[in-house]
Amino acid sequence: MERRYERNIPALSDQECRLLRSKRVAVIGCGGIGGYLIELLARIGVGYIRAVDGDVFEESNFNRQLLSEQPLMGRPKAKAAEARVQRINPRIEVEPVAAYLDSNNAKEIVSGCDLVLDGLDNIRARRILAAACAEVGVPYIHGAISGWVAQVGISMPGDGLIDVLYPEGVSFRDRSVLSFAPSLCASVQAALAVKMLIGRPVETGTLYYFDLLNQEFETIKLDLGKKE
């Protein structure tokens, strides 16, 4: 056991830590949620991270995005993710993909991974991600934020989670995001990811909903057969 992971023990066993080192995850989006996801997965010791984002940093990112720094203005987020992880642990393999997920590249982007994490910021891309994960047969962990609110849920291939969460005609009243929303969202996603990667039981068909303005935390059992 490397000393850098000794504080993972006994919350995780030696064997579970070794298992994490052998696992491959894709983080789709390296912005608000994705930046924290990459940080948390690297710190706990996931061995391979594919960091996907076609965007570059701009000033409006700085209120919430962990990877954003003044000297990185205009630089690719995926490359910043790689550099950050290399500074944390150069033995972690990071594959930066400086491209937006679209219907042409989605299958390739999610292929070869044990798990995919949703750090996206729009519904259209989430639908593309869900379709690609269903086709490839890889689970993903959805996360989304708005204002003071975060939501997280595990999606098994083809279960229709995204169709249920975002019915046709859905509209948003609030496009703000406060700094603590992505970190909370990513923390819940990362905890679920670790459990899935090491084979501990998780709840599927469930949405975890966090309202940090009112300190209300809901666990919602979803009927994933219902797509209206």
Partner: protein, 73 residues
């Protein structure tokens, strides 16, 4: 009576919890109309904790919970 619980931004300009006469609101969609909430502003609708659609039939004593969509990152 039917208790309607609103979450997150659906609470803006409205109460957290609203009591309505069950006779006037046979379905969840009737409640949205009454509260001036368009269907696209609701991602998840629960009746007594069970995930339902807008056409869910309501009965006296039901608790309806409405959650807005969350889509950013």
């Amino acid at each position: 009576m039917i208790e309607v619980r609103l979450f997150a931004t659906l609470r803006q300009g409205r109460e957290k919890s609203i009591m309505l006469d069950s006779k006037d609101f046979p379905t969840a969609r009737d409640i949205l109309d009454h509260l001036d909430i368009i269907p696209g502003e609701v991602s998840i609708l629960l009746v007594n904790g069970f995930h339902k659609g807008l056409e869910a039939q309501l009965e006296d004593g039901d608790v309806v919970a409405l959650f807005p969509p969350v889509g950013g990152g």
